[in-house]
Amino acid sequence: MENKNVLVIGGGIAGMEAARRLLQLGCEPVIVEQSDHLGGHVAGWHKLFPDMMSAPELVEQMAAGLDGVTVYYRTRVANMNRLGSGYSVMLSNGMSLQCGAVLISTGFRLFDASKKEEYGYGVYDHVVTNSDLEAWFGGAPDDRIPDSPARVAFVHCVGSRDLKAGNPQCSKVCCMTAIKQAIEMKEKFPSAEVWCFYMDLRLFGKKYEDFYIAAQRDHGIHFVRGRVSEVSEDIHGHVVLKAEDTLAGTPVKLNADLLVLMAGMLCNDDTQGLARMVHADVDSDGFMRSRDNIYRINESNRPGIFFAGACTGTKTVPETVAEARAAALDIYNYLNGRD
């Protein structure tokens, strides 16, 4: 190994896990994180499906393995050039690095729910997003959430699978997140009615279907197939949803005390800029383009540039972690001249 330095861009769970494994393999990872904390989005979640594991604890546990890894917070990559067999990097904090390989683990961006104006996020008093709700579960106060709601409604696919919103992709995790949050709400407010409005339920992972069946059978959560067309607010401040139940073929109307929007996962705004810096490609969905989507998801089309986690598309936590480990091994092999 000529140059053991590996630049890890993004300190979410993908970056953290990869850095930990690289350290174990004898490399010297450096994490560049634009925010002031590690863990990325997961650090802001409360519990993770399907095991209801505590998200902050998971992040904490992963951080414990990072002793000896340099982390630059509130820092971004300013400039990056190919130099010899590696990369010469300028950071926004003025530091410069020579590294043998680069791991891009910049994750995703949550859809801005106020862009779907018809749902009234930021306009009506009792409309929150999945991410707001996670924060509230985690203890952050939120006066949009009533003390004892009689009826809570979840709307799936907000800013996902929606050409009008500019994102035709399925975000993959939000059906499960909705079910998870619906159960948690029901547990908090046993007398509340909880409704989920979905287009399709995409429950592909291990234990996911069980989760859904439990939600219906044990928690009495109502599922309605149909897109919500319009949300208004009545004079009492209740949100009024209008939708079409496409299974029953009838229009439905629902008054709710709280509306939760399942905002989707989108590519980061600066994906293009970052990709251009290293001459990597961006895919048609705006995420980073892997060499292929079957066998080499971790690899870019440039030597020494690797990917892990949600920067190449929507991922769950286990997928992200698995990819991070695979990327660490790929990088180790790359630095040692093995393919």
């Binding site: 862009k115 104006e117 018809e118 009234g120 930021g122 306009v123 009506y124 050409l163 009008k164 919103a165 500019g166 067309s229 319009e230 949300v231 208004s232 607010e233 009545d234 004079i235 009492h236 009024v240 209008k242 079409e244 229009p251 109307k253 008054n255």
Partner: protein, 680 residues
Amino acid sequence: MRERFATGFDPFVLPFLIGMVFVLGYCFFGIFRILYQLPKDDRRRFLVSLITPRTALKNVWDIFCNCLLHVKLWKRNKLLGFMHSSIAFGWFMIILLGHLEVFIYCPERVHLFYYPIFFNYFVAENESTIGGAVLFFLMDFFLLLILTGIGLAIVKRVRSRFFGMRRTTRPSLLDRVGLYSLWAIFPLRLLAESFTAHISGGSFLTIPANWVFRQFLGNDLNLLPTWWAYSIVLGVFMVVLPFTRYMHIPAEMMLIPMRNAGLRIRHPRKGFAKVQVLSCPGCGVCIDACPMSAQKVNIKDCTVYLNRQIRRGNEKRIEEISDKCLLCGKCEAVCQVGVEGPRMRVAQRSARRYGLTPDFAAIDTAPLSRAASAAFSGAAGATGAAGAAGAAAGAAGVAGAAGAAGASGASGVAGAAGGAGVAAGAAGVAGAAGAAGAAGAAGAAAAGVAGASKVAFFSGCMTRLTPSVGKAVCSLLDKAGADYVWLDREEGLCCGRPLLTAGRIDAAISLIRKNEEVILGSGADTLVLSCPICYKMFSERYALPGVRVVSYADYFDEFVQQGRLRFEKSDICYVYHDPCELGRGCGIYESPRRLLGQAAGIAEAEKNREESVCCGGSLGSLTLDFAHREVITRKSLENLYSSRADAIATACPLCLSTFRRYSDRPVRDLAEILDASCRL
């Protein structure tokens, strides 16, 4: 003066005569056909207008200004205006002067069609007489004018950019025959008259030319062949005319009186629509104007191509073009002939037959209007009982959904269109309704200003999909102390516009009747609208006696004048986007600007007012998909960015959400801006 031939005839006039008789015959036949195609009441109206002195005078004046002087073209581009008017007006003057000459010198030949045209061949006059000098001078002058016009036309074929046009149409083969014969007519006339000038006299153009030619020709052998050539090109031009774009010359003379008579398009192909199609010279001004032309694939869906396909009878393309259009009205605004592109398309859409027609007659509107009337002051506060409307109006919800389904279904069933059915007597009914509405509005206006009015705020579905706008309007109404109710806060009926633009006029009217019941039953005397799409619908198609229909821009503007609303100016500079429906659709350009100017800085985009560019979100198009709309939206945003303003303001909820999707700077509705800077 002396006539050169006692017979007053030479065989060379035959080509001209044949062409002339053909084209006149064709036009007369055409006029009768069109008249026959008009619905009875329209025909009567048209014929009466022809003998009513006021409209008759207006017809003459309009024909003079538009067909000969091309006044509207001058306003668009001076060079283009000069080119067209020099040819049209020059030619007209030459014909007029030709007749004058015949009248003066040989009145006994007046009945001969060809005499004024070939006067210089048949009659030898001397420019030394004062009359001759003046007439010959004028003849040469106008000939020169035309020749300059033709010269410019040739330049334009090669370089249309000089004329402020980026794209023009490609002429068909016959168009080209017509074009080249038109170009050839006047140089040949110059040649013919020049060869004859030493016999029949001439002026500053023809005499020197004659002198030059005589220097090296020395005989008159060319004389007759050039007159033959002149006559032949004239003949060719007139024979091909009905099959080329030059048909616009006679057609426009028919279009103007028809428009002045107040006719409307009732059938997509016949009558008035047919005259409009024929009146289009294919100038192509509407291509650059059309927002769809932002993309090459959609260029052939502009109005000029609709006209062309209708003339060719290409049914498949006519359907496609009719369905794709945004109905933004810009082509109509820039068209110097006045072809009503959007109306023709709606007429075409209305010829389609559907298996299922939604029926709204069963909706019970009583609970909706009762809830609204209970909410006016004296009852439970401004919006007090509006909530009750929600409980009672399940049925309305169903109907609304059905309406939407009907509208979007239109594109799906496109293939099933039955040929050219009768478009709509409905248009007539609605027209009458509109008039009644206007009368009612006038009556109610006084009450509105008095301040004691009961105001119904109708937001429409578009505003309900952008709740921040509805909230801002209500907040402003509150601040101004209006006694109002949000009519469709939770439940309401669609205004009918999507059905109407889809051409489903009967269904739209049945929905309109229901909405009229709700509004009249509510006891409101003023109806305020935040969506210009609804506003246009309400002001044109609804019969609401005693109710004033007003857009929120005009309404708040009045409040400002009455001192009921005051604003504090912020330092943000907005560029105002004229929504198509509010601007071109309803002619409201000033009140939004006045209001915005009170609340913030204001900048203008390169293309604004009548020429504002559609946001691309329009309900009008049945087939444009999101990818294509996005290109239109971005193009429209570019125009707004040209003002270098910090933010974008508009007064249409649909523009708002469309722009917000792609804009790199904040986009806000006028109501939101006003509400944020309102000081009580």
